[in-house]
């Protein structure tokens, strides 16, 4: 099974653990990822803040490239990238006037998008397209732990791009269950981690991350799984800062759902780059 792949900047940079574990665990499942050639940054939340139109055009360029390479479905593992690409895809497909406008800009770069690509988040693809049963069959080491799935915002919102309810999402929990874990229910599943606020307004940013961690801590979960590099960075990397800043103690190991998947499928910790997580050591304690 071949499927298009849009890694996004984070997965090529700081959060390469996500892409390593994604590729290796998908390989076990027999899914081959075909990277979009010459993809560019989706613009994240910064370029839209700077120039909304330019940001949308950047996302549209990626869609046009995918179409050029005949990729019908592309997977965007990063929620931010998924959100940008999927929303622009939705908007262009459903608004002929907008499609025309965007294509006018794209045509300057010799590109055109006709609307044949489907953008999917990696979790959605795994659960809803590949199939939970097929994953279950391949599980070698069931992860028998209480696991909190943290969905974040941009995978479930806004409505146009979401495949499920943003108030009570289920996909990642069903995956966790398939891998042998016990999903926990908590209020903060889709509460915002503050995204890049931690850079632009550190005080507020840390507070929002803390809110999320607090609500997970209440559930007595043993592991947090994430599906977005930004969420991951905030919960994982910033956990230590918050512990120091607010004088609290979480000791909550954070990992990508792909790392959990890889481990359950029998991959080694190194193969899923587990040691790259800052909270890796917590797991050992």
């Amino acid at each position: 099974m071949k499927v298009g792949y849009y890694p996004g900047c984070s997965l090529k940079g700081m959060e390469d653990a996500y892409s390593i574990s994604l590729i290796s665990s998908f390989k076990v499942l027999g899914i081959e990822l075909v990277e979009i050639e010459d993809w560019n940054c989706c613009g994240a939340s910064v370029i839209p803040s700077y120039d909304y139109k330019f940001a949308n055009a950047l996302a549209a360029r990626n869609l046009a490239l995918a179409e050029e390479q005949n990729l019908r479905t592309i997977i965007a593992p990063c929620s931010e990238c998924y959100n940008r690409l999927a929303y622009i895809n939705y908007k262009m497909k459903n608004d002929a006037g907008y499609m025309e406008k965007m294509n006018k800009i794209l045509s300057e770069a010799g590109l055109e998008y006709r609307g044949t690509v489907e953008v999917k988040h990696a979790v959605d693809f795994l659960v809803n397209d590949f199939g939970i049963d097929k994953i279950k069959e391949k599980v070698k080491n069931p992860i028998n732990k209480k696991i909190a799935s943290y969905y974040g915002c941009l995978f479930v919102r806004p409505r146009e791009i979401s495949v499920e309810s943003a108030e009570n999402p289920k996909t990642m929990d069903s995956l966790v269950e398939a891998l042998g874990g016990t999903p926990v229910d908590y209020d903060g599943k889709t509460k915002c981690c503050g995204a890049s606020l931690v850079v632009s307004n550190e005080k507020v940013g840390l507070q929002t991350i803390k809110n999320v961690l607090d609500s997970i801590k209440e559930t007595e979960a043993e592991i947090i799984v994430t599906s977005c590099p930004l969420c991951h960075a905030n919960l994982d990397t910033q956990q230590l800062t918050i512990e120091k800043e607010f004088k609290v103690n979480y000791m909550l190991p954070v990992m990508y759902f792909t790392q959990l998947l890889g481990l359950a499928l029998g991959l080694s910790e190194r193969e899923v780059a587990l040691n790259k997580n800052l909270t890796y050591e917590v797991l050992k304690v």
Partner: protein
């Protein structure tokens, strides 16, 4: 033109009248210019404008002009035909002309309201439409009427306050009334409440009196636990099939002692009490219910037979079968009421997830003196079913802190955009009931967006609850969180008047959920050939001047079936519908206008295609002395025109939509459009008056803009469309043509839309084959409420016309003109 035709044309004297409609038309259409344009058109003898053409002076102007100028045709340009066509037909009649020598041009909904930003274009469009109307009216023919005897009996569907009132009014006036309810008893939702605002009296007391009256009036026959399954016939002479569900209790024998109910060992959740209480397998819903006959629930029943044994009247019969009752009635009143929407979809409030989040109707059951706790609210998380006692047991403290949330699902684009109208009041009522009767120290927060307490005595009622100390917070709560251990709820809301987010702790959260049309409303509407609106409620003929009428003559609506209503309004509507039925049936006969199908015996070849097309069996081929000829039963014909559209020879026509009339209108519009709109694309639309045309009216009312170069021709049903109409349109220079019909399954004439679809499919292929291009022709399903879709389709088709360019015919002509 032959001499004869010329002469005939010369005899035609048309008067044209343009209405200003205050500023509604004159504000964006240059009426004077339209009048000047009309004056120059052939056969127009006089053209005038008036501020309000529908007013007395306006109508007199038309009447006097008819006399003074010896007019024999009138074209009036104003609002949509569904509003004032009848008015001007009457004017013609009063002036001694046949009413059908009139044509209505829609210059408000189709021009001034939708092109209000561009006065020139709006004016141009009116001119084009006027040219079409004037050309058409030349071919109009007189249409007669016939008188029909009617049955002096009425079927009332739904036994809530509206239905009961209608039945009583009619019965007391001497009409035979069949009052049918789906439930095993009458009373509707009203019977489920403990108190009713604004007088706080007990609904059972009010209903009890009404039930007593029902028993007294012998003209009224109450049929409960029954549903309408089939309708045939026509105004004044409807035949209705009703299915009576098996009650498993013989209604004749039962004496209402309820011994069976008290002895039944089974307990299941009671739907009547919204699952707040339990009931036996053989049960009555409330003690005062009418008729006081129990019903057995075969699914819950364990067939132990105790009820049979204890019944002193031997009334219980496990072998009862559904029974079909056939009724003949002159009119039907639909009062099917509302039901509460269960707000599972509003997940942020956790209804269905958190036990202590309930709806207002559920709270009403707690507050009902006949309910599970006899009027004392409780926390559902504390309720437990005690198997030994066979009843609900409440353990724990009663709730102290309540949060009421208004507008749950309603006024929300994601769910229902309308206001449920009475939720503010019943929320206030429940707050008042708790503070007055249950616990004066209770903390009640009402989270509202706008308090709508508009009726008589309502504002005073609102003031009372404020005095009692209800805490009123302006803000729509964002989310509710539950403490899994204590089951306490935390409501997060921005108090918009304080301007800051607050969190309110609550024992019980009560959602004022949207009121929806009761289950089965759509199915019933389809059976009765009446329409529902965008909101799912039954649609009235006109929101202002026809609130209880429907598109089908002789069928009326009352109460919450047409939208959420309080009791006084429902009762008033019940009476209104009864009066409408009486005014229809009172004389014992009705006059029917024969704007129906007709067969030209000379042209008819007796092929029988019309027979296969008529959904009512109203047209049949008979053996005559001239050979086999089709004949129309004018009583049965509903005037959809499906037969005319399919007749191969043109023998069958739909009066007032005859081929020459349609051709004249098409020609008139397109000739004028080519002249006025020149190089712009020209799009011609044929719109079914039940749906697409109604949607175009709604687009007008909502001022939804679309390009002005879309010209709409009104047809009685999309099934009227004839391949000849389409070809003619292209011949006369239309670039794109489309037909708007009702959605499959909801055609007012059974399946006229599907017949139209086939013709359009064929015409598309034909156009492809002869080099015009099938892309230029399309059929769309545009339901009446979907004004947005109407505007979008219009936009899309103009875009398509631009993309495809002028038709080869127009192109060729343009080239010729240049040379």
């Amino acid at each position: 033109m032959s001499e004869k035709e010329k002469k005939k044309n010369e005899e035609i004297r048309i008067g044209f009248f343009q209405c200003h409609c205050g500023v509604n038309i004159a504000g964006s259409v240059d009426v004077k210019e339209v009048v000047e344009y009309a004056k120059k058109l052939p056969n127009v003898v006089v053209a005038k404008d008036h501020m309000f053409l529908c007013s007395d002076p306006g109508r007199n102007l038309v009447k006097e002009a008819i006399k003074k100028y010896n007019l024999n045709r009138v074209v009036s340009s104003h609002c949509t035909p569904s509003l004032h066509q009848e008015t001007f037909r009457t004017v013609l009649k009063e002036a001694g002309l046949n009413p059908f020598f009139h044509e209505n041009v829609n210059s408000r909904e189709h021009a001034s309201w939708v092109h209000y930003r561009d006065k020139k274009k709006a004016t141009d469009k009116v001119k084009v439409l006027v040219a079409g109307g004037i050309e058409r009216v030349k071919h109009h023919k007189p249409i007669g009427t016939m008188r029909l005897k009617v049955k002096k009996s009425v079927l009332v569907i739904g036994g809530g306050p509206a239905g009961i009132q209608a039945a009583l009014d009619l019965g007391k006036a001497g009409y035979k009334v069949y009052l049918v309810d789906r439930r095993p008893h009458l009373g509707g939702n009203m019977a489920r409440l403990g108190k009713v605002f604004p007088t706080d009296d007990c609904p059972i007391c009010i209903l009890g009196k009404k039930f007593h009256e029902l028993r007294q009036v012998k003209e009224i026959e109450v049929i409960t636990y029954a549903e309408v399954k089939e309708l045939s016939g026509y105004v004044g002479n409807y035949k209705v099939k009703i299915e009576k569900k098996p009650r498993y209790v013989d209604e004749e024998k039962c004496i209402g002692c309820l011994t069976c109910v008290s002895k039944c060992p089974v307990r299941v959740k009671s739907e009547w009490y919204e699952g707040m209480d339990v009931r036996p397998a053989i049960y009555i819903n409330y003690p005062a219910q009418f008729p006081r006959i129990p019903v057995r629930d075969p699914e819950a029943c364990i067939n132990c037979g105790v009820c049979k044994k204890v019944c002193p009247a031997d009334a219980i019969d496990f072998d009862q079968k559904p029974e079909t009752i056939e009724l003949e009635v002159g009119a039907i009143i639909v009062a099917t009421g509302y039901e509460e929407w269960k707000p599972y979809a509003v997940e942020e409030y956790g209804y269905g997830k958190y036990k202590n989040v309930i709806t207002q109707l559920e709270l009403a059951q707690m507050l009902n003196p006949e309910g599970p706790t006899h009027g004392k609210p409780f926390k559902p998380s504390d309720a437990r079913y005690d198997k030994k006692k066979r009843k609900l047991v409440i353990e724990g403290e009663p709730p102290k802190k309540y949060v009421f949330i208004h507008c749950v699902g309603s006024r929300d684009e994601k769910y229902f955009s309308y206001c449920s109208k009475i939720c503010c009041m019943y929320s206030i009522k429940h707050a008042k009931m708790i503070l007055m009767d249950v616990d004066p120290n209770a903390e009640i927060y009402l989270c509202y967006m706008d308090i709508r307490a508009f009726s008589k005595g309502y504002e005073e009622y609102y003031k009372q609850v404020q005095k009692l100390g209800a805490r009123i917070v302006r803000g729509k709560p964002a989310e509710i969180r539950e403490d899994p251990k204590t089951k306490k709820l935390y409501v997060k809301v921005e108090d918009t008047l304080l301007g800051k987010p607050i969190e309110i702790e609550a024992d019980l959260v009560v959602l004022a959920s949207t009121l929806r049309p009761s289950k089965g409303t759509k199915e019933l509407a389809d059976i009765l050939r009446i329409t529902t609106g965008e909101d799912g409620f039954l649609r009235e003929l006109h929101p202002k001047v026809g609130p209880v009428d429907t598109v089908t003559a002789g069928i009326f609506i009352a109460g919450a079936a047409s939208g959420p209503k309080d009791i006084p309004e429902s009762v008033a509507q019940g009476s209104a519908a009864a009066a409408r039925a009486m005014s229809l049936l009172g004389k014992g006969e009705v006059e029917i206008i024969l704007n129906k199908a007709e067969v030209n015996q000379e042209l008819c070849i007796g092929c029988g295609i019309c027979e296969t097309l008529c959904p009512y069996g109203a047209i049949k081929v008979h053996e005559t002395h001239l050979g086999r000829k089709a004949k129309v039963s004018e009583v049965e014909c509903q005037g959809c025109g499906a037969c005319a559209g399919g007749c191969p020879t043109g023998a069958v026509m739909r009066r007032n939509y005859e081929l020459d009339q349609m051709f004249a209108q098409i020609e008139g519009i397109l000739r004028s459009a080519k002249e006025i709109f020149k190089d712009e694309p020209i799009v011609l639309a044929f719109a079914c008056k039940q749906c697409a045309y109604a949607a175009s009216e709604a687009a007008g009312t909502s001022r939804l803009e679309y390009p002005p170069n879309v010209f709409i021709i009104r047809i009685p049903c999309s099934g009227t469309i004839d391949i000849a109409h389409v070809l003619k349109a292209f011949k006369e220079g239309a670039d794109v043509v489309y037909v708007g019909g009702c959605e499959p399954g909801s055609c007012a004439f059974v399946d006229g839309n599907l017949k139209a679809e086939k013709r359009i499919q064929f015409a598309k292929r034909l156009l492809d084959a002869i080099g015009i291009g099938g892309d230029r022709l399309e059929i769309f399903w545009i339901p009446a409420p979907e004004s947005m879709k109407f505007a979008e389709v219009a936009k899309m088709m103009v875009e398509r016309a631009k993309k495809l360019g002028p038709t080869p015919l127009r192109k060729a002509k343009a080239v010729k003109e240049v040379i």
